[in-house]
Symmetry: C2
Subunit: 226 residues, 2 copies
C-alpha cells in the first residue's frame, strides 16, 4: 500500500530542539518575565501569526522576537534581540537526528510498500532536513505542505492518483496526521512523540485509529492490512 509519513517528530527529532531553543530564549529574556508568562505569550504570538506567517522556524523566530519586545514593554536591548535571531538560525542549522529505529523500519517498509513523505513547515528547511536525513531515496514522492487539513490530503490523493483504500498516513500529530486523513476515508496511525506542541493538540473522544509506541510496530500492522 501507499504509506504517507510525517517528518518532524515522526522520522526525526524536532520538538526536542524547539524546546531546547525555547529554554535558551527564556534565559535571554528572563529578567522581563517569568517562565510561564514567556511560554504563554510566545504561544499567543504564534497563534496570532499563524494565518499570515504559517509554520516553521522562521515564523517561530519572528514570534520569539515579537514576544521579547512585548514582554519587556519595548525595553529589551537590540543586542538581546540579535541573540534571539541567532537562536532561530541555529535551530535551522541544527543537525538532523533520526528517531530510533526509523532508518531500518523505512528500509523494510520500502521493500513491500510505496512511501510518501508528507511534511509541513518551511520549504527550504524541510528539504534540507530530508537531504540530511539520508532517507530521500526511500521515498516515492515528497509533499511539503503549508497545512495538513482535509483539502490538503484530498489534493495529495488526486495529484498522485492514490486510492483512499490503499493509503495510510502515519505521524505524531493527531490533529494533522490522523483526524483529517480519517475524515477523507483513508487509514491513519498515530505514533506519539514525547513532546506535542500546544498548537497541535487535538481533543479525541473516541480513538478509532491504532496508536503504536514506535515506528517499528508499523511493519506488522501494515502487513496485516495488505
Amino acid at each position: 500500500m501507499i504509506i504517507g509519513l510525517d517528518g518532524d517528530d515522526t522520522l526525526w527529532h524536532s520538538e526536542r530542539e524547539f524546546a531546547q531553543t525555547q529554554e535558551r530564549y527564556r534565559e535571554i529574556i528572563s529578567r522581563w518575565a517569568d517562565h510561564h508568562t514567556i511560554e504563554r505569550r510566545l504561544l499567543d504570538t504564534e497563534r496570532r501569526n499563524l494565518e499570515v506567517l504559517g509554520y516553521g522556524v522562521k515564523s517561530f523566530t519572528l514570534a520569539m522576537v515579537e514576544t521579547a519586545i512585548e514582554v519587556s514593554d519595548g525595553n529589551i536591548p537590540a543586542s538581546e534581540i540579535h541573540e534571539v535571531i541567532a537562536l532561530g538560525k541555529e535551530l535551522l542549522s541544527h543537525p538532523v537526528e533520526l528517531i530510533d529505529g526509523v532508518a531500518d523500519t523505512l528500509d523494510t517498509l520500502s521493500r513491500d510498500h510505496t512511501l510518501l513523505l508528507v511534511t509541513k513547515g518551511d520549504l527550504l528547511h524541510q528539504e534540507t532536513k530530508l537531504a540530511a536525513s539520508g532517507l530521500g531515496e526511500l521515498f516515492w514522492r515528497i509533499e511539503i505542505v503549508s497545512e495538513k487539513d482535509v483539502p490538503t490530503y484530498e489534493r495529495i490523493m488526486r495529484r498522485h492518483e492514490i486510492e483512499r483504500d490503499n493509503f495510510v498516513m502515519v505521524g505524531n500529530s493527531v490533529r494533522s496526521d490522523v483526524l483529517p486523513v480519517l475524515e477523507i476515508g483513508a487509514k491513519a496511525v498515530h505514533v506519539p512523540y514525547h513532546i506535542t506542541w500546544e498548537l497541535e493538540h487535538a481533543a479525541v473522544d473516541d480513538a478509532s485509529f491504532p496508536t503504536i509506541s514506535t515506528l517499528r510496530d508499523l511493519v506488522s500492522l501494515v502487513d496485516n492490512w495488505s
Copy 2:
C-alpha cells in the same frame, strides 16, 4: 505545449511592494545610516542568510531586523524593531495585483496550451498569492520551489513527465527563469520587470532567448512554436 510561468513580477507585482517596504524601512532607521549604506548592508545580510533562510518575505523581515541592529551598533530601540516586523507582516498581507494584461493572456494561452506555475519563496505566501490572484483554475499544476536551478527544473520535468522539446519557461528573472531552463535543453522567454532584485541579476553575454516586453506577446510567440 507546456508553458511554465513564474509568479512574482511575471504574473503579479512583487518587487514594487518590496521597494515600498524598503523605503519605509529606511525611514525608520534613517538616523543610524544613510540610504546607500542601509541598502548595501541589507543586501549583504540577505546574501549571507540565503543558504539557511531561503527566499521570501519572512527571510527578508529577519534580514531587515538584523541589519537594523547592526547598522545602529545595537542602539536601535526595541519599539523600532517592532515597527520593522510590522512592515514585514504588512508585506505578507499586501493585496495581490496582477500585472497588466496577465489575466486575459493566461486565459487565451490556457485554451491551446497547458500552464504550469513555477514559483519560488515562502510556501504559504505563494499559495495565498495564487489564491488571491484568481488564476488558480487556469493552471494544470503548481510547483512552489525553494530554488530555481538546473536540478529543480530537472525534477519538475521528471515529476510531471514533461518532454524538454515541449516546454517553455517564462519569467522576469534571467538567472532563475531563463538560464537553467536553457541549460536543460528546454525553451525560455524573458519578460523583464522594471525592477530586478540585486540577487537575481545575471550576466548575459549572448542573449540566445527571446525577450518580450509584455506577457501578451507570448501568445503569438508560442503559437509559432507549436
